[in-house]
Symmetry: C2
Subunit: 461 residues, 2 copies
Amino acid sequence: MSRKPDRKPLHLNAFLMSTGHHEASWRLPESPAEANSDIEHYKNLARIAERGRLDSLFLADSPVLMGDPGRRPAAKLEPTVLLTALAGATEHIGLIATASTSYNEPYNLARRFASLDHISGGRAGWNIVTTAGADAARNFGLDDTPLHRDRYRRAAEFVEVSTKLWDSWADDAVIADKERGVHALAERVRRIEHTGEYFRVDGPLNVQRPPQGYPLLVQAGSSEDGKDFAARYAEAVFTAQQTLEEGIAFYKDVKQRAEAVGRNPDGIKILPGIVPVIGDTEAEAHSLDAELEELIVPEYAKRQLAQRLRIAPDDLDLDAQLPEDIPTEDEIEGAKSRYTLIVELARREKLTVRQLIGRLGGGRGHRTFAGTAEQVADTIEHWYDSGAADGFNIMPAVLPSGLEVFVDRVVPILQERGLFRTEYTARTLRGHYGLPRPANRLFETVDHSEGHFGIGLAEVR
Amino acid sequence: MSRKPDRKPLHLNAFLMSTGHHEASWRLPESPAEANSDIEHYKNLARIAERGRLDSLFLADSPVLMGDPGRRPAAKLEPTVLLTALAGATEHIGLIATASTSYNEPYNLARRFASLDHISGGRAGWNIVTTAGADAARNFGLDDTPLHRDRYRRAAEFVEVSTKLWDSWADDAVIADKERGVHALAERVRRIEHTGEYFRVDGPLNVQRPPQGYPLLVQAGSSEDGKDFAARYAEAVFTAQQTLEEGIAFYKDVKQRAEAVGRNPDGIKILPGIVPVIGDTEAEAHSLDAELEELIVPEYAKRQLAQRLRIAPDDLDLDAQLPEDIPTEDEIEGAKSRYTLIVELARREKLTVRQLIGRLGGGRGHRTFAGTAEQVADTIEHWYDSGAADGFNIMPAVLPSGLEVFVDRVVPILQERGLFRTEYTARTLRGHYGLPRPANRLFETVDHSEGHFGIGLAEVR
């Protein structure tokens, strides 16, 4: 591969998930039985990723028990809380928590992210999700999930309210003037008085403006609504892309949409997922992949696939291809683009249900790549140079071992090729991704006129 | 004072608040300017409290900017997040976070507390509050706060839902049977299918049962509704009591109410607040107290007092007593008992508004006690022996210095008198308070019949 030492470095995010992204990873002899609620396990993962100078850690989430608890570790510590614990175990790495705009209140969530950003010294990121599925809805007094488009409308307003709340304290609001007895300037803290379709929020927030201004805004939906949302709000996008061609098309599409709404396309980083299965030889890597595939319990996986396809498990025959009569993407509510990706993968490669289950076992639709460290570095470089990625969302099949081997063997190759940092040069998550700190929209100029909160300085002099 | 070496030890909780409970504490030369968002400041406080073998740390909270940001550090990091960070800086001490039942969803909040309990190894506590005030309501789409009684009804149902969610995984649900490929037993994880007046929640929770079963349940309301709620649900009660007589009456009242609903009165610990101002001599303590009082900005404090009394600031004359024409407790929505305490204090001692402001400056209605370490230990012992307290909520006027002097000088006296532990003997917050781990109400016996979640073990064999 050609070396271009002056090119921009790429970005790497470690997507953490209990014993690994492969659904059968927990069955390996070395996997800890209760990794999903063991803080020491997660601290270890965070330190490994930081040793590799990765940009960030990421936790997926949904406010519902996802899938069958028999099948794999299904319980998950709440991400803003878990990442706060990991902030204390690390110094540099970014901390990206998934949180739902459908099942939270902006005041509470904006405050937790602001708190995490303060506690971590500017390392918080928010993966904004709208949360599909009736099961989640039924944990919040609803019978079924709101419609896809409505969820995205709410998400957009949620982000608007959140950014206003983060802006409700000017960066210079706190003066702590002990002599005069004025802690914060009343005219530099103000109500937001937001009234919209979904929310009425007066503010101000009861946390000072976060070190990063806003946490890094991340998005992972790849449907049409999802891409429009990303183009407008996201600064990093996690996406599942099975082929280079699809990856290039997605990359172009999102960057163009961002430009169309007046944004700098460099301000939105595209990170496809990759499940690297790494061996000393290619054969060893494939053998590890096959070993994991054999550990999948087909009854569980078939049931999960049937749920995703909205058909009965009995309509799936393990040794036949997918039935013809399954819904179209338009008929699906939630995880729309992932649905299409899975169906197209099965049709394109004429996979039996059993084979499809094997292909989904590693990354649930994300691209699995088995090979040597060199080959993994090659595919990363190739996708990067081809304009399919600004970086990658690393999803080790097995944890911690898959992250260790990636950090110890793939990262040095990328560093040697001038593709990845050898030391952290920034202190914040935005800094790692080369993204600016947002200006405060409520305090662009000093405003002594109205809307301020509390007694003005003149009154206490 | 008489020594009774075989008596039960008392309990001590450190109530943390930025630069201290005295509203003017931040104006002292040594107070850090941004203590309220400085995680290192809080870690230092947590370690001091743990050095003193205190039972727990506690953070008050409300989802609104409380009071004037000019007056004192008003911003607050969100407690479940902040205490998670403190869990990593400590090993034994309990971590009690305030969270509102009026402005949260049970699924989300139960999950965060379960997560904190897992991360801290069983040290989480929840101070259950209903959150008064129109300002908070207006951060959540409401025009005004729900009525006092309605808020308590919702709180009761919220606690019921939360405990069911914590019970939705049997303690032995996870078997991690790698051979058969069964991570959790389907019949030991179940939906709660709660349908009530305020909430419909299907469950199960997506976090395994917390190490403590439930976090310690704490309550701090002292109104009639508040005492009834405490009697039914609380295991520890924080309360403001100005005089020993009132303290004894409150203690008896709550214990009797607990007995009346069939609870063991020992299972509910009463902890009055105390703001200790400690000097080498009594004169030095009073001088520190006077120094702090002089630093109060009367304009801010008068405005705050007027708000509490629901009158205009101009109706208060700093050098006169409270006007006659103020509301009765019945007309007040929220913080009802504190309202009465303040009015009675002012009337009983015939205080001018300026004097009342000084008396409230330290603990906002909690009892301030200025004296030597020996005198502070004496008053603690006296209240304890008189049946007014099972322990105390320690509210240092200045932080960290007030906590340091309490830990280094008062705690050793209490230990010498056999009143306080010299080492931690338990690993959990419940253990420190001598309270049992609650049994699981959904899995008292193994139930293979119905309501379980996922595929049964037989199906995957």
